[in-house]
């Protein structure tokens, strides 16, 4: 087969166009560098691709998808395009005894098209966990190193919230939050009774116009993608300014296969499959930023074996693929009779919670280490397939009585989702499967997963807390979680929370880490990995904001190196 070579050498080639790749593209092109940005999926045209404001009855399957297999959430027909738990022709494997799920987005902007827009800063203690409780490892950087970059990211993308002075949840640069919905009012009251913190949430959604983007119009559909770009996505907020510089070359449908090193041990090119022609092509650059998502980035490094790097690129420590973490997740909820009295009104709000529960037990000794925050939602949202399944099984019967019961209970359910810190363990990692390849001929990942005791205890605490809150709010607690099931206390399978990080971690020591504090590979100076893979720990903060802050920091460092002629 013919291997085409693009003669041009870019300053930087970025692999992946999501939170990390988009941020790097903006900062580097605005800093004067020429950038090639590779994306495995197609381009995105919001006004064509997004299903904003579509009703269920506008679609023949009412949102449930072909065969009715999709229910509410991350697999319905309304979701922004090309994000999925399974991609045809691109399998991944859970090792025997492990259950891991991997949500991937093949589209310009990656998973920032699909995420919950929750933008939380890590706290000072989150960077120094080993010093604090003896488990895991400290980051090679502190909160003070990252804080200026949290400022830059928040100032640029727009995040709403309030200053609260909570040690576990540092304040940021915030736009005003939206007013609470009825569901949030009732939970706030219940939490006050129990002395549990409940404060305005921090989401990357505009409540005021910002940088030419209009404020949110409160349709609650952020997950479908926002045609007005009032919420944050890399595709609509990071990549357009990079394109405006004239220094960005966006290459879509490009599935990176291998990083090619020269005799001096530096990366000189990325080999990728052009999906449209199924041909192998190369892009040459002076430096490379791998930002393909934590596990995809580890996969690319592990698949980049050479005489110089027999165990994969940047992997002399053997940590690539290791230290895989997700968030501890457990759900419960309840029906609140008080909400039956609420008259019909527009309850939509932003596409996410207006209030949340930050970790509040940081000032005492608990049965487990670290902490969790809680997201919650419910109420009189747009009805969807699956909404009345629980009621249908509970109430049974048929006829006008059933119909009336549905109307009575509509909007009275509130669900809670815990998001807790997992301590990395040796049983959780990904590696190259010894036999399977995807349709592009690229060896695929095999995942190993086992929760530790600390995570199970945390899930138990979530269930107990949600019961207390529901009961304090006068509701009926509902949970499928049981201690003796394969998922004790409802703890979600690995990967399900879509916060996987840690597979190419940074650290002070090349023997136990792959990257330095600027996300630069210890072994290969012109290689950076700036997505969630670089994380040392996985605090109870959704990782996206930190991914962008660390990428911005790494990009500033790279620009500085370029100025010094070190590229």
């Amino acid at each position: 087969m013919q291997v085409r070579r693009t003669p041009k050498t870019y300053d930087v080639c970025i692999i992946g166009s999501g939170a990390a790749g988009g941020t790097a593209a903006k900062v580097l092109t605005e800093g004067g560098l020429s950038v090639a940005l590779l994306e495995a999926g197609p381009p995105l045209v919001p006004e064509r691709d997004y299903k904003e404001h579509v009703w269920p009855y506008d679609l023949p399957h009412r949102g449930a998808g072909v065969g009715g297999r999709a229910t509410r959430g991350l697999d319905d027909e309304f979701l922004a395009p090309n994000g999925a738990w399974e991609i045809e022709g691109e399998p991944y494997i859970s090792a025997p005894g492990s259950r891991f799920r991997w949500f991937r987005s093949r589209i310009v902007g990656g998973r920032t098209n699909h995420w919950g827009r929750i933008a939380l800063r890590m706290a000072p203690v989150d960077f120094k966990v080993r010093s604090h409780d003896g488990m895991g490892d400290d980051w090679p950087i502190s909160y003070e190193d990252v804080a200026p970059y949290y400022d830059k990211v928040e100032s640029y993308i727009g995040v709403f919230g309030t200053k609260e002075n909570i040690p576990s949840a540092p304040d940021g640069i915030f736009q005003p939050p939206p007013k609470p919905r009825c569901t949030e009012t009732i939970i706030k009251k219940a939490c006050d009774k129990l002395s549990i913190l409940c404060v305005p949430s921090r989401l990357a959604i505009l409540t005021q116009p910002h940088n030419g983007r209009p404020a949110c119009h409160y349709c609650a559909q952020c997950g479908r993608g926002c045609i007005t770009a009032s919420n944050f996505s890399s595709s609509q907020v990071m990549i357009p300014p990079a394109e405006k510089t004239g220094r960005l070359t966006l290459v879509t449908g490009a599935m990176a296969r291998e990083l090619v090193v020269n005799k001096a041990g530096k990366v000189e090119a990325v080999s990728y499959i052009d999906k449209a022609s199924r041909e192998e092509r190369r892009i040459h650059a002076r430096a490379f930023i791998v930002a393909a998502s934590s596990c995809e980035s580890a996969r690319l490094l592990l698949n980049s074996k050479s005489t110089l790097f027999p165990d994969g690129l940047a992997n002399s420590s053997g940590v690539v693929g290791r230290n895989l973490m997700d968030s501890v997740g457990s759900n419960a909820g309840g029906f609140f009779p008080a909400l039956e009295k609420v008259a019909a009104h527009n309850h939509d709000g932003v596409g996410g919670m207006h209030m949340y529960l930050p970790w509040w037990k940081f000032d005492r000794k608990n049965e487990f280490l670290r902490g969790y925050h809680t997201e919650f939602g419910g109420g009189r949202g747009m009805p969807g397939v699956g909404d009345f399944h629980h009621l249908s099984d509970e109430f049974e019967g048929y006829g006008s009585a059933l119909k009336q019961e549905c109307k009575k209970k509509y909007g009275t359910y509130i669900g809670f989702s815990g998001r807790g810190e997992m301590i990395p363990n040796e049983n959780c990692y990904c590696e190259i499967d010894p036999s399977a390849v995807d349709q592009w001929g690229i060896p695929v990942l095999r995942f190993h997963w086992k929760w530790g005791d600390n995570e199970i205890k945390m899930a138990k605490d979530m269930q107990e807390t949600y019961r207390e809150i529901v009961e304090a709010g006068g509701g009926t607690f509902i949970s499928r979680a049981r201690p003796d099931r394969p998922n004790p206390y409802g703890i979600a399978d690995g990967g399900v929370i879509i916060h996987e990080v840690g597979t190419v971690r940074m650290g002070a020591h090349p023997a136990t880490s792959a990257l330095n504090q600027y996300c630069q590979a210890h072994d290969v100076k012109n290689l950076f990995v700036t997505d969630g893979a670089c994380f040392v720990t996985n605090a109870d903060k959704n990782p996206t904001l930190t991914i962008m802050a660390l990428t911005w920091r790494a990009s500033d460092y790279l620009l500085d190196q370029a100025k010094k002629g070190n590229l």
Partner: protein
């Protein structure tokens, strides 16, 4: 002269390309386009529906059962008017598991009616229909008569699908009183509620 949908979409694209690099389109134009798409779809809808999976007899039975589960009453129209049978037929035509559960379930119902009343469900009297539905509409009845198990499972699934089809329809959404999916300048928050 009325502006056509093509004009609107074309103007949106032009705004997106030549206007802001952030590809922002005017809210009013977006809302207008969405409404126009919905109106076109409604106008194009065919009156008579040809089932994709169910036989004519099975589909007729399905329709009657759906309407019994969520009937037309003084408050709002029922499952048939809301298009629930069409929705169920569509997803069943694409899902082998549902084909067995619903297709087989409808046959179980007819077989059971023939055994008990000497005729299929549709030909039974209203009292007979009520008698068999009152048996399969409640899980507790399987404890009294284990032979009802299959019918109870079938009816539980059909009840869920009927609720899905009904409450995702324009009729069902209006009945529930959902207000939203629109453009709001300032979100007003929770209205005053007694006891909240």
């Amino acid at each position: 002269m009325t502006i056509s949908r093509r004009d609107i979409l074309k103007s949106l694209t032009l705004t997106a390309v030549t206007g802001s690099v952030l590809q922002v389109i005017p809210l009013q134009a977006a809302e207008y386009a969405h409404r126009m798409v919905s109106a076109e779809k409604a106008a194009a809808e065919d009156q008579a529906y040809a089932p994709k999976f169910f036989s004519a007899h099975a589909y007729k039975t399905l329709q009657v059962l759906c309407q019994t589960i969520i009937p037309s009453d003084a408050d709002a129209k029922g499952a048939i008017e809301a298009g629930a049978p069409e929705f169920i037929d569509l997803i069943t035509s694409e899902n082998v598991d549902y084909q067995v559960a619903l297709g087989g379930g409808l046959m179980w119902l007819d077989n059971t009616c023939i055994d008990g009343y000497g005729k299929p469900y549709l030909d039974c009297t209203a009292a007979q229909q009520k008698e068999i539905l009152d048996l399969i509409a409640y899980r507790r009845n399987a404890k009294l008569d284990p032979s009802l198990g299959q019918g109870i499972d079938f009816f539980a699934l059909l009840r869920k699908f009927t609720a899905d089809g009904y409450f995702t329809s324009e009729i069902g959404i209006e009945y529930l009183g959902y207000i939203g999916n629109t453009f709001v300048k300032d979100f007003p928050g929770c209205p005053p509620v007694p006891g909240l």
